[in-house]
Subunit: 586 residues, 2 copies
């Protein structure tokens, strides 16, 4: 036994107890005649004391050699602390050390192991095992554990069965790029790592498993945007004999349970919003509804004058920014520069100050009178003291731009409160999405999503108008989950594949097993998957997922700690029947 | 809502209730004026009845069209069953159907969806989604879920944190072959899939996580023996500031908890056996101790006469087979043939019948008298009526052969009772194992296992004699878990790598991050990993793991259902900077 107690455990009630503790030296203060050492483990910090009057000379000498992050074991007596520290749980006591064993020395760590560290992102990733000692990271990982446990408990109590699906599966051309795994035993053939267990969970439904869940790693070989990881974790679920309503109910229940158990927050029934409304009111299919600033479409009230920019635009749309009428010219110019940044891409911005006296001052006063502007204010819901920001142009582009501006301004105005939770179901997603580059439609969720009843006939005439039984769960402006009712008959699935550009042969080669399965008694079914990394980060009140992942990869997909990926032996390549074939940059 | 109740839910108390059920047609019996349909879902079977006198003609006609495995929804009234079926939970009632919806038709399944199916292994794997509908497979998967949930609950309650470690890691030359994943973003470099999260869990200990667990997929690209899978699941655990005793205590507790919660079995404190004793008494490091038949080493009492076979042997060793003295000459010959099979490899077998009258009859009466044979009986613990089977030769070979014979005979004698549980700790494993082919020593557990204190100095003189702080948990003759106390200082680790044949450069390239970590304050730590697939199978009273895996692969590593691995597009290869290079068979 290395210890009788943890470093977070001792209280005044333990005074006079003989204890053995083990942990890391957080810091030590040497006053010559007295040495205090903060001993740290996962559970807390306990102050150790070495004191000339009560500690042997040898022990005093030994205590002086202790450096930061040394691993030590001490025996001693719990005593009352002279000056109590109300900030830590063990602040009433200290341990007068009678025996000290250095279990392992430590070099000076490359950054401070404190809540606020002096280490940058790169060095912290390289020495992630030291970073994990810091409370913010350690607590994030423990928080994640609690969320996972609650998810499993909730779903298991509801009759869901945790079924492990395979990781070595088959590559499919649909969706993102697969990570591939050459097979040694089947030369020239490859496994793929799953982007999700989609087809397997559907097969489990065909297999009568009725309710399935799994917390499972998924893999996508995409160029990494900030805060994306090549491997990520899904809470993956599927149910048979259900309609959309049944699924929303279960997973609303699960999310509410998490908010209650993990965050201690009670939330009302989740509002629901149609995809089309989300796009119209927030320019976004994952609106943050913790605050207002809904879009007001201004075409009707802005396209009747000589302002060509607006008249030529497909959409003129604005938001009222609360209290921002007081922005200076300089501040507004900065805002205009912000929307013109390439990441946002607007060509310009029109603004209207709603003065406290009820008058309006706009950047387009040349074209519009007070009466016009009053209508704009009405449409955007602007009140005296607000600033209306207006963008115009191609509908989908301008919505995205104004949505970005809305989020930026909300952030600046402190409206995105990390401890406020505003869940929202977005429903009635389109089945298909036009790829503007290729002119082809592809599946907005995935090719297994079922269209709403009776809408399949629009495939030939107006594919973009078909709505799907597909839904997303949005929390604080982040998509945390999404799913759909699936197709469960071979004919519909064949039609979908055809319209997504698969030849019958391709469909059979890739998904023949699923279409076969649909012929042997497939029940109606549907499901949902949550992104665990993001869900945990948001419940934890954070925007970035990295600290909630023990060993994340950087934006080049590298693990800088273990230095992977890496080159391999020629022999390994030969065994796998492959050769390197690196093409020179042009 | 597709259903008001499941097919396993209705009881006599529901009589006269209007219900909606959905499920699969298990079978239907058509008596012309009356049709009974067994409707099945995950939860059970409910009998439906269509009756000329009470059912409309149209509905009767529709009911006649139902085939096996059709997916249907029915509305109807729960009524008392004329002839009750005490074998099923819903046997008191049936549902008089008033409305029938065919949700999906089904082709005739390629094998019967019954507990005892007519389908062979191959066809069941190809249509695994149909196989899963069968109770034995379905219940095995649900059983696995229960075990996983209990494991997580137990460990979490004990303060273990579930931390997800990465799947895309680095290839290491040690141990089995890695599955590799070419990196697109880092041309010419590869990730490897983890054979276990060994180094990551150790780094979590360096990171102060204190107690870690994870139920995690691991990957080994080995030629598959029967009942091995290229991807398998581990319950992976690690603890800091512990000695071997602490670890055995926690995981003995966990295993006892599972036996109690899952099997309803109370077991005593697990016995412990030294590796050397296990080899001596059972010829095996994972002895099945549900029955006796311990080895008796006979060198002393058998090498004093003119029987050259024994005199030349390194080891003469026998077991007493209870009640087998009555075996006929033919039965004994068959046994001798059995040990001579290439899979066992013995050259012959000597036997002694211990007659009921106290006399002995052996196959070597020419060389040994009754007094000699009496000593053999004493050494092997044979009683009147037993048969002593004796093998001789090279110690390690003959132990393996006799162990195989012991297990075979126990099986035949019905001594390996599936519902009896005999756990056993095997401790004090050797640190190193001699590879007889290469003459080199390699790590018996893995290169991170710590030698027993003070034994490292034997590395140069007698490496095979070094014992490790390594232990296996054995259940009913299967290794279900194993682990060790780890090395936690850089020097010892460097010595180990050197003796395992790594150059300092290789050690640094492969495991530099771990050795670096050991310099920044690594605590003493150790852990254990359970093989979940096998653990679940054994708790479920089965010998094979395949039915406890939803979608297993065959012995060529293929998933015959989805037909993976498969060829991929040229374009995918190019993106990964690799080319096929299939070598012709010589």
């Amino acid at each position: 036994m290395y210890r009788s107690h943890s470093c977070g455990e001792l209280r005044a009630s333990h005074i006079n107890t003989e204890v053995t503790l083990a942990g890391w030296v957080q810091k030590s203060r040497d006053k010559g005649f007295m040495i205090w050492v903060d001993l740290r483990d996962r559970y807390g910090i306990t102050q150790l004391i070495f004191d000339e009057e009560r500690t042997s000379k040898d022990l005093m000498e030994k205590a002086k050699t202790l450096g930061r992050e040394f691993v030590i074991q001490v025996k001693g007596t719990v005593i009352e602390r002279a000056s109590k520290n109300p900030n830590i749980a063990t602040g009433d006591i200290e341990v007068l050390v009678s025996e000290l064993t250095i279990l392992n020395e430590a070099k000076l760590p490359p950054f401070t192991i404190e809540d606020e560290t002096d280490g940058g992102e790169d060095i912290r990733m390289k020495y992630r095992y030291l970073d994990i000692r810091r409370n913010p990271v350690k607590n994030s990982l423990i928080f994640r554990h609690k969320v996972s446990m609650e998810v499993r408990k909730y779903l298991s109590d509801k009759g869901f069965i945790d079924v492990e699906t395979p990781y070595l599966i088959k590559s499919t051309p649909e969706g993102a790029r697969d990570f591939l795994v050459p097979s040694r035993m089947n030369a020239g053939q490859f496994y793929a790592l799953p982007q999700s267990p989609q087809t397997f969970k559907q097969l489990l439904m065909v297999g009568g498993m009725d309710k399935y869940f799994q917390i499972v790693k998924c893999f996508r070989d995409e160029d990494l945007r900030a805060d994306r990881q090549p491997e990520f974790t899904q809470i993956d679920c599927e149910m048979a004999f259900v309609e959309q309503e049944d699924i929303l109910e279960i997973f609303e229940g699960m999310t509410r349970h998490l908010l209650k158990e993990i965050n201690g927050v009670d939330v009302d029934k989740f509002p629901r919003m149609q995809y089309d409304d989300a796009m119209r009111l927030y320019g976004n299919d994952k609106p943050d509804i913790r605050f207002g600033m809904q879009f007001g479409e201004l075409n009707e009230v802005a396209q009747h004058k000589d302002f060509k920019v607006f008249n030529d635009a497909e959409l003129v749309v604005g938001i009222a920014v609360p209290g921002a009428a007081s922005y200076t010219r300089k501040e507004i110019d900065a805002l205009i520069d912000w929307v013109k940044r390439p990441q946002v891409g607007a060509l310009g911005m029109v603004y209207v100050k709603c003065n406290e006296d009820g008058s309006y001052k706009s950047s387009v006063d040349k074209f519009y009178d007070q009466e016009d502007l009053a209508k704009w204010a009405e449409t955007t819901g602007a009140k005296a003291g607000d600033l209306i920001c207006i963008l115009s142009g191609n509908t989908s582009k301008v919505r995205a731009q104004l949505s970005a501006l809305r989020m930026e301004l909300a952030e600046r105005l402190g409206l995105r409160k990390p401890n406020e939770f505003a869940p929202l179901w977005v429903v009635d997603f389109p089945l298909l999405e036009l790829d503007e580059e290729t002119g082809h439609y592809h599946a907005m969720h995935h090719p297994f999503t079922s269209p709403k009843p009776g809408q399949l006939e629009l495939l030939d005439t107006n594919p973009g108008a078909i709505k799907a039984n597909a839904y997303d769960l949005v929390l604080n402006g982040n998509e945390i989950g999404g799913g759909s009712i699936r197709i469960h008959d071979k004919e519909t699935q064949a039609i979908m594949f055809k319209h997504l550009g698969f030849t019958p042969e391709e469909a059979k080669a890739q998904f023949g097993f699923l279409m076969d399965a649909f012929e042997y008694g497939a029940p109606p079914h549907g499901g949902l998957a949550f992104g665990l990394d993001r869900l945990v980060a948001i419940l934890g009140g954070q925007e970035t997922i990295r600290d909630f992942i023990a060993f994340p990869k950087n934006n080049s997909g590298r693990d800088v700690m273990i230095d992977a990926p890496a080159t391999i032996d020629e022999e390994q390549l030969t065994e796998l029947s492959i050769k390197l074939h690196i093409q020179k940059e042009a």
